[in-house]
Subunit: 571 residues, 2 copies
């Protein structure tokens, strides 16, 4: 027993045991027949192991090759019932390949062979029965960063405290992937806190780069990076709050897209710095083939993620923009290169790479100019300060929950790196409120979605009509009502107000008191005397869904026209 | 001298004087010939004063009538060079009408007759010279809430401390309105702090409801409410963080649209709770005619506000959605009515109004059902807690800057209203960071926009190409670089990473040290030895603009194809 473990305080042995048990469970989830003879540590580049180990049949190796070169070709084959490729076969090939990758790079967290094959069979059965694919990702195995919650599985996300917490629901992304016919088949490793550009944690350990195991695959989507570089997945999904898609993609030779905030649906995924909405983490595809970017992004957007995620932006896939309609249709464009951001200068390979791009573009008839950096250090400091605004409170709490130590260096010898930008630590309770608000928005959205069972249109309720204020224009000093308007702000629904009639003391007689909801309700009740308000206008509110301004205008015009047409029916 | 003023502390006389002088300046900005004989306070409904006072000619009254009934008709006349209507004539009519409205409701802040008429002449001149309208709002006078900054004017926004601070720039909305041919002609009153549903402040005093001057017009866009109800503007622009468009519209018989966050461009406008992005204030049109909603919203969106406001969502006006394509094209829809939100029950006039709507819709063949409220009190409390998250710090600082007291009640007799929801006060420094980030994003956007002068395409730079990381895959523990990726996160640019080549020690030779930017730059320089990195991939990053995922994918495919095509040119 070392000195370190002799100093073990009560509780700390628990996290070590917990991690050991969890790691053993992971090992046990690997089928015995898929265990390979792992090359010695001195073997740096392990990429050929997939083929050399002999676990995959020639046909399975062909499948892996296909998916590596162009995932869209693999998808086309899976969608063609006469192609002879089934999801079970493709998923099996990738399960084997992923598990090989894991054994040499430690890239996986959740390994669920039976679950994945069950899903693949379901998808194949669909094809047999209907003769058509389930969706644009029919039968495709997809790997997921260890944030994308799946019902029945833990989401360890680099913290021992998450061991044994099994999810009750799929996150929205996984729901959509199922809708589209995909087959989630493994989840991939991340660093503790998610806020490192490498991939190491106390539960699953360190992920290494298959190009050279002495090197990092980057992070925080480093498990994906290593897996994909090993040809262990045709398409992976990672996340990016500060480079976490792009760093491992750059380090592992992959393609990725980091979409803007809220274009793709993050709701329900586990995350770090929960409730921090100043710089939102985003999800995106990672792959060895470039076709994965459009395939994945278009498929997800075409599924209308805004119907499921209250924060996802309601904005359809625009094929014209994809065709560069706003960029000269891709002809005679002008590119700018940032050679040096005046914070750190790139290494020579990057300068060369940029020169290669410059030349290639110029040969294609494009202009290439220098990009002038502006405020890069200010931008960086601002962003980093935002990202530590809780003073590390969440990290500490997540560690304390299990007793595991906070990892303060990604170095194997645990030497803290001296690099420090001296960001000031601040505290914010806003994040808790964001989290609460997000949950409330989701609940309201689900609630609205559930109205299909109560309409006879086959659709949801189209709009809500309500007061804008509980009363009409009231005496100075007495208006304290935003009870009817706050909903629109907090849920961010597009809504309109329109005038309907005027207070008429003959028609608007006081009513008997009801069972008051609360003190304010009573005060409001007592406020009403028809003689105080005669002739003042009575407006109402129409609420549509988030980003539905046009429809709200159209609907309020329709409502208004209808009201006007029949205004005198009742009087 | 009353007891209250006897207790006046040093400095407080300054704010009183300041406000008195500013109010006198406002009075002085009213042309003498437009001053009317104001009816006595006992005259509650003052709406007929516009006509009765005799200031407007019959033709001017016809113009006001036109704009009141249907602003789009007025706009069509202004856009028709043969109609006989000029912007000067229309603007003059509305200036008179607005100034009449102000004299009876105290609805205005900035009155700039000469400036407005100068602009109207400019627009008319454009028509004479070009024979066509300047834009979809050609010649239209538009009133603006006292938040929409205009170059050369103060933006008092309800605080004495803003007296004497003259803006150097127009806000983005005003820039766009000028582009579209509009004529901003008055600005309208707001409450101190903007966070009241009424309209009163120490500088300009209280705005009253023209339907009944004993009543409030609502707030915080209450100056607009009163002005529009007086037919003093054909179209106004207000804002809404918690009901501020909808309350005065309901109270003053107007139409409004509260769009979702960031659909319309807020950048550069003054605001309360600066940097608070959890529940964003939005701007929207207010008018007596429903056509104003589409007219204004479509015109602003068609102007591509996202080109000018980094937070504005890049989402085109969709005429199909306006035609209710997703709502059965407006046929056989289902509406739901929220009769009572279980917090406060609406007054009888509102119940009746809802019944009128229900009947009208049912007669038109629509289904009308009850809306079941969900969590309304939780939603309300959450939102209110967010809105006081700085513990009132900004209000206090804004008041302390001039010495004026914080208004704690909207009641004329200053009795504090007992109503209190007991929201807990919290503190957050995040808001300061949001403010800083917003300014940095704007600066970067302007910077990018300025590249038109350096390209030969007639457009901006189409995309930025840069490293994703300053180096390639590095040894464990040494990756501390997000200097190249943070830009994308903080600016929220869509960006992609793509592989270009591999490190080749023969080609990628070390270079001599440069003049290091800083310690990190030096450390990174020293990190490079080609022998450490042989054969590892070299990826790059392509950055597009916010919400430009499709174009980024299209561009990275193009770049990638070009790189592949010419990969061996150089080697």
């Amino acid at each position: 027993m070392s000195d370190a473990s002799a100093r073990t305080t009560p509780g700390t042995s628990d996290w070590r045991t917990l991690c050991k048990v969890r790691k053993a469970a992971q090992n046990a989830s690997i089928p015995e027949e898929w265990k390979i003879s792992v090359p010695p540590d001195t073997s740096a580049d392990v990429r050929s192991v997939t083929e050399d180990c002999g676990l995959l049949s020639p046909r399975e190796l062909d499948i892996i090759d296909l998916g590596t070169k162009d995932v869209s070709v693999l998808v086309r084959l899976l969608a063609d019932k006469h192609s002879g490729y089934t999801s079970v076969e493709v998923t099996t090939a990738y399960l084997k390949s992923a598990i090989i990758a894991h054994q040499v790079t430690n890239c996986l967290t959740e390994i669920f062979v039976e679950h994945a094959l069950y899903r693949a069979r379901e998808v194949d059965q669909y094809m047999v029965e209907r003769g058509e694919p389930m969706g644009p990702l029919h039968g495709l195995p997809i790997s997921l960063k260890d944030q994308f919650t799946m019902r029945g599985l833990e989401t360890i996300m680099g913290y021992a405290c998450n061991i044994g917490k099994f999810a009750e629901n799929d996150c929205v992304l996984v729901e959509i992937l199922y809708e589209l016919g995909a087959v989630p088949f493994v989840r991939t490793n991340v660093p503790q806190t998610l806020m490192w550009g490498e991939t190491h944690n106390n539960v699953f350990g360190r992920t290494v780069n298959p190009y050279n195991r002495k090197l990092t695959p980057g992070g925080s989507s480093g498990g994906e990076g290593a897996l994909l570089a090993m040809r262990g997945s045709p398409l992976g999904v990672g996340t990016d709050i500060d480079g976490s898609l792009r760093i491992p993609s750059a380090f592992c030779g992959l393609y990725t897209l980091r979409p803007s905030y809220e274009r793709l649906p993050y709701h329900g995924a586990a995350n770090t710095l929960m409730g921090q909405e100043s710089i939102s983490s985003v999800l995106g595809p990672m792959a060895t083939s470039i076709s994965a970017l459009k395939l994945f992004t278009k498929a997800i957007i075409d599924s209308r993620p805004w119907d499921h995620d209250p924060l996802a932006i309601r904005k359809a896939w625009n094929e014209d923009e994809y065709r560069l309609i706003e960029h000269g249709y891709g002809k005679g464009m002008c590119f700018a290169i940032l050679w040096d951001n005046k914070v750190v200068r790139p290494h020579p390979p990057l300068i060369r790479a940029m020169n290669m791009v410059k030349e290639a573009l110029e040969k294609e008839g494009h202009q290439v100019i220098d990009w002038e950096p502006l405020n890069h250090i200010d931008i960086y400091k601002n962003a980093q300060t935002i990202l530590v605004a809780d003073g590390g409170e969440e990290y500490r709490m997540s560690c304390e929950a299990s007793g595991e130590p906070l990892i303060t260096s990604m170095s194997p010898d645990e030497d803290p790196h001296p690099f420090d930008l001296e960001v000031s630590l601040v505290k914010s309770l806003l994040w808790q409120l964001h989290t609460e608000k997000r949950a409330l928005r989701k609940a309201y959205l689900d609630h609205w979605n559930a109205t299909t069972t109560r309409t006879n249109t086959g659709r949801l309720v189209d709009a809500i009509i309500s007061p804008a204020v509980a009363y009409t224009a009231c005496p100075h000093g007495l208006n304290y009502d935003s009870f009817y308007t706050t909903l629109g702000n907090a849920m961010d629904y597009a809504c309109a107000v329109f005038p309907v009639t005027f207070v008429d003391p003959k028609l608007d007689l006081p009513v008997d008191p009801h069972d008051f909801h609360n003190h304010e309700d009573e005060a409001f009740y007592k406020l009403y005397h028809p003689d105080v308000f005669p002739g003042v206008p009575v407006g109402l509110q129409l609420l549509g869904r988030t980003l539905e301004e046009e429809a709200v205008i159209g609907m309020v015009e329709l409502v208004d026209a209808a009201v006007k047409k029949h205004a005198f029916d009742r009087v």
